[in-house]
């Protein structure tokens, strides 16, 4: 089977537009969490979020195209263009795949049109409403914009969406079904309807996101997109591409248990499956980018899962403390953080950390990044509905150096 290289990455997040702003903020432990601007939060129990700052689609699309794309698709389009340019790959249309992850589709468009319908009594809709709200709009846009004619689809598994997407894309490249995959996830959940719905779940923090801290009070909603370019490692090396890391494993499991309560067993089985798929021993893993939402239940359960898989737990951090929980896009943001951590030998911290919790007895790299070169790493994603997906990456040290 082929080895698979990550040769490009693109990001739009609360830490700005572009991989470099994302990575420099994560390395500095800078959080993108602040007061929500897109929605008037009066009367809602929380008012902080992780929105893309000063996002102006007209800096990235002509006016006509911008009007045809939901905010979530704009994010994906920008991230994909950056990833493809960054990779330098010359895409062979029918040998390239696009696989995106998205949990909720074009909610900003939906919220806007429903407000016109229900609150203002308008009966004429934007004719683009349907193609804007479909969950797969990002995959279609990337395919059309870059002339990619191979397998193209979207995976929707709530907050694990992009991990399932990247994992499937990785398997397609590894098996030789395609040579290159453009894959990641996108989400734009900051609408009044979504904020009220999340409020009713009582899992959003009124202050900020403090994963693994004893005083954590919940998650912080975020938005954005991240896309990576995966390709046959030998071909990438042959064309002189920079290999940022290898993607080497993908594991999935289902809790088959509770709709919202996480299961340590399900999470542990997904991590073990990713290790098996990668042919890695647990001792080779030096870092886990945790699902780490900052809810009471997730972080203690994830700690138990990590301890079940690793006799000596690796370093762990939760970058959601900085880019927020961008639902189906989160796994893609975290995959990019993990890839760059392996490339640069810097592990991003868990920001906003205040106080250790005995139920989360891991080294979570509190508040300050750590210069540690690890050999391999996992990125965990666990969705409501019990759907778990874990990606494994390994440092690429170049041919002849292994």
């Amino acid at each position: 089977m082929r080895r698979v290289a990550v040769t490009g990455a693109g990001v739009v997040s609360a830490l700005g537009v572009g991989v470099s702003s994302f990575w420099s903020a994560l390395r500095a432990g800078t959080s993108g969490i602040g007061p929500i601007r897109a929605v008037d939060c009066s009367g809602i129990k929380f008012s902080n979020g992780a929105e893309v700052p000063d996002f102006n689609p007209l800096l990235h699309f002509d006016a006509k195209t911008a009007g045809q794309l939901d905010r979530s698709v704009q994010f994906a389009g920008i991230a994909a263009a950056e990833a493809i340019a960054h990779s330098g790959a010359a895409l062979v249309p029918e040998r390239t795949a696009v696989v995106t992850g998205c949990a909720i589709g074009g909610k900003p468009t939906e919220d806007h049109t429903y407000r016109l319908l229900y609150a203002e009594g308008r009966t004429r809709f934007d004719p683009m409403s349907i193609p804007k709200v479909m969950t797969s709009a990002s995959a279609s846009y990337i395919s059309m914009r870059h002339g990619i004619t191979g397998p193209c689809y979207t995976v929707s598994t709530a907050c694990a969406s992009a991990a399932h997407a990247i994992g499937q894309a990785f398997w397609m490249v590894r098996s030789g079904q395609v040579d290159v995959a453009v894959t990641g996830g996108t989400e734009a959940p900051v609408t009044l309807g979504m904020l009220r719905a999340w409020e009713a779940m009582r899992v959003v923090a009124p202050d900020t996101c403090r994963p693994f801290s004893r005083d954590r009070r919940g998650l912080i909603l975020g938005e954005g997109a991240a896309v990576v370019v995966l390709e046959d490692l030998d071909a990438a090396v042959a064309r002189g591409a920079r290999v940022h890391a290898e993607i080497c494993g993908f594991g999935m499991s289902s809790d088959a248990g509770h709709l919202t309560a996480p299961s340590a067993d399900g999470a542990a089985r997904a991590m073990s499956a990713a290790l098996r798929d990668a042919g890695l021993d647990a001792t080779q893993i030096g870092y886990v980018n945790a699902h780490g939402t900052g809810t009471a239940a997730n972080d203690s359960t994830e700690t138990r899962a990590i301890r079940a898989v690793f006799a000596a737990p690796p370093l762990v951090s939760a970058t959601k403390s900085m880019h927020g929980h961008a639902l189906g896009a989160s796994p893609a943001l975290e995959a990019v953080a993990t890839i760059l951590a392996l490339r640069d030998g810097v592990l991003p911290p868990t920001a906003h950390f205040t106080e250790a919790d005995p139920e989360c007895d891991l080294d979570v790299i509190p508040n300050r990044a750590r210069d540690v070169q690890v050999e391999a790493a996992l990125s965990n994603s666990f969705a409501f509905g019990g759907l778990n997906a874990v990606l494994a990456f390994r440092r690429y040290v170049g041919s002849g150096q292994e």
């Binding site: 129990k45 009713a200 779940m201 009582r202 009124p206 009070r217 919940g218 509770h258 709709l259 919202t260 309560a261 239940a297």
Partner: protein
């Protein structure tokens, strides 16, 4: 005679959980009634509607039995009418 707060809480719990009314007693814990965290969210939602109060997230964590829910609602109603 109007329903007491306790009767109203028990009715709301029984209705949202589709339980026979006599199964829900003041002494019943949510665990005994098979009520998990997600059921608890639905009960809180229904109690907020029934009593026109808002149960803060921190207070909600203390609702683990019918009696605790009744006491919590009584405190919220007292604060509202103060």
């Amino acid at each position: 005679m109007p329903e007491t707060i306790s009767e109203r809480v028990r009715r709301v719990v029984a209705e949202t959980q589709k339980l026979p009314a006599d199964r829900v007693q003041d002494e019943s814990t949510f665990r005994e009634l098979g009520i998990d965290s997600l059921d608890g969210l639905n009960i809180l939602f229904a109690l907020e509607e029934e009593f026109a109060v808002e149960v803060p997230d921190d207070a909600a964590k203390e609702f683990a039995s019918v009696r605790e829910a009744v006491e919590g609602i009584e405190r919220l109603l007292a604060a509202k009418n103060a």
